[in-house]
């Protein structure tokens, strides 16, 4: 009997605490909403941006994979990088607050298509295949895929990759390129860094990854070098859910403003030293 009473009491307590949780978060979001609503008003007065509907009111929810320096990476307990600074600049123009969702790269686009995030900003190359799933903003920067090998490797270019094992990050353009090379066995790691580590441990013969990321990794790992030969140029763009024209237009507008006033160039220059 005693046990039964205790059970009922506990269940009651849990229900109460849950209800309390619900209330607290409700008030929090409504606070945030009203705050940002006033923010948005102020902004719309100055440049006439219409108020945009986002996944979470007042916030620009951003899906990224923060293991991709210098575009996005962890610095202490913060996620920083070129993409994050660009996102901040765009969000400021839209009167929103950035909220970052850090997730595996191959899930970034899914976060956008399934409506969990407003934008995907993770050094995503706007490929035709991806365009079937999401809309892309205008290009904000370009990149290309490079090959990383060990210093003493006999591999001199993409031709030498035939029949070799190539480390890539799952779902990246490097993954797709490697899969298309004859007789290449791609080894797909969740993180670019894992692929590079496998390379320096001799588990794979080469790694194909985005140029700036490749340079960063090589800088941080001894005994590796980047080959001069590069694959075709790719355009980095922001992924937005298909049909969300309102957000796409405002992001593009913000992007073109940021491009013309030199903000984007200075952000990139901040992270990538000119050669």
């Amino acid at each position: 009997m005693k046990k039964k009473i205790l059970t009922i009491a506990l269940v009651g307590l849990m229900a109460a605490s849950l209800a309390a949780c619900g209330k607290a978060s409700e008030t929090q979001t409504s606070n945030a909403a009203s705050e940002s609503a006033s923010d948005g008003k102020a902004e719309s007065k100055s440049d006439g941006t219409a108020k945009i509907k986002t996944v979470e009111a007042g916030k620009l929810t951003l899906a990224t994979n923060a293991e991709f320096p210098p575009y996005e990476y962890h610095d202490g307990d913060k996620i920083v990088g070129i993409d994050m600074d660009i996102a901040d600049a765009i969000a400021k123009k839209l009167g929103l607050e950035v909220q970052i969702e850090d997730i595996a790269f191959d899930s970034v686009i899914l976060e956008v298509t399934s409506g969990k995030a407003d934008i995907g900003l993770a050094g995503i190359s706007a490929t035709d295949e991806r365009k079937q799933s999401v809309d892309f903003s205008d290009t904000y920067t370009t990149s290309k895929q490079l090959i990383i090998v060990k210093d003493d490797s006999p591999i001199k270019g993409s031709k030498d990759l035939e029949g070799k094992t190539v480390g890539v990050q799952t779902g990246t353009t490097g993954d797709i390129l490697a899969s298309d090379i004859k007789d290449v066995k791609p080894e797909r790691y969740d993180k670019g860094m894992d692929a590079v580590q496998a390379l320096s441990q001799g588990k794979v013969d080469a790694v194909i990854i985005d140029s700036e990321v490749a340079k960063k990794f090589v800088e941080e790992t001894s005994g590796l070098k980047v080959l001069d030969e590069a694959f075709a140029d790719e355009n980095y763009a922001i992924a937005i859910k298909k049909g969300n024209k309102e957000l796409l237009d405002s992001v593009n507008k913000a992007l073109s403003e940021l491009k013309s006033d030199g903000t984007i160039d200075s952000i990139i220059a901040k992270y990538i030293k000119a050669e």
Binding site: L110, S133, T170, G171, R188, Y189, D190, G202
Partner: protein, 230 residues
């Protein structure tokens, strides 16, 4: 609605022969599980014996200590971490086949749990049988081999089969070291098609079918065992 599902199905499974990669992943999962269970069997059996010998005869003190360390460490850390340590730390400078790294990790992991299964099997045989054997002139070893072990193994076989099923699901983290097992195969499809539903449902279904199949086998096996009493 139906048309869309059909298009999704074709995109996720038919295009580029993607269903083949699921099958290949399934084969890898089964292979890794099978060899890991065998390795775990050998390890677990040995550990259980060492610990029982120590308990009964106070011999093998050092080995018993090592076995206890092994059990504590393996059961006290997650299998994903063990897998990463084996692949990136222990075999840090050796080019090792990923399947072998996975078999080692899951086998060593499973061994710790199988050791406990064997021990419970040995403990399930009443102490009186050991005493009876000893009083009839058998030494400890003879009693173990002829009287205790045959019954103990029979008692633990169903639990061992269950360990196989559990381990099969546990190997789904092998993708961490870029081994293309069933789960990773689904992940790769998803990374190409950007749709989550079809690949994950297919992967889940394949696991479920395998588990149901092996559970069924296990049940038949148990029924047969039940027939042959002592």
């Amino acid at each position: 609605m139906f048309e869309e599902l059909k298009a999704q199905f074709i995109l996720n499974f038919i295009t580029d022969d993607r269903w083949m990669s699921l099958l290949r992943g399934l084969a890898v999962t089964l292979k890794v599980t099978f060899f890991a269970v065998i390795l775990g069997f050998v390890l677990g059996f040995s550990v259980a014996i060492v610990r029982d010998v120590y308990e009964n005869t106070k011999k093998l003190k050092v080995l018993n200590f090592l076995c206890n360390v092994y059990l504590t460490v393996i059961r006290g850390t997650p299998v994903v971490v063990q897998l990463l340590i084996i692949y990136f730390v222990i075999f840090s400078s050796i080019k090792i086949d990923k399947s072998i790294a996975a078999v080692l990790a899951f086998g060593i992991n499973s061994g710790a749990y199988q050791a406990e299964i064997f021990r419970s099997g040995i403990n399930s045989i009443p102490k009186g049988q050991m005493e009876a054997g000893r009083s009839l002139g058998f030494n400890y070893r003879q009693t173990m081999v002829n009287i205790i072990m045959p019954q103990a193994i029979k008692n633990v076989l169903p639990t061992l089969g269950n360990e196989f099923i559990v381990l099969m699901k546990e190997t789904s983290v092998a993708g961490y070291i870029a081994l293309e097992d069933l789960t990773k195969a689904g992940d790769i499809i998803r990374s190409r098609t950007y749709s989550a539903m079809m690949p994950f449902l297919a992967v889940a279904l394949l696991y479920l079918i395998m588990v149901m199949f092996f559970s069924h086998l296990l049940k038949m096996f148990e029924r047969r065992l039940a027939g042959s009493g002592r």
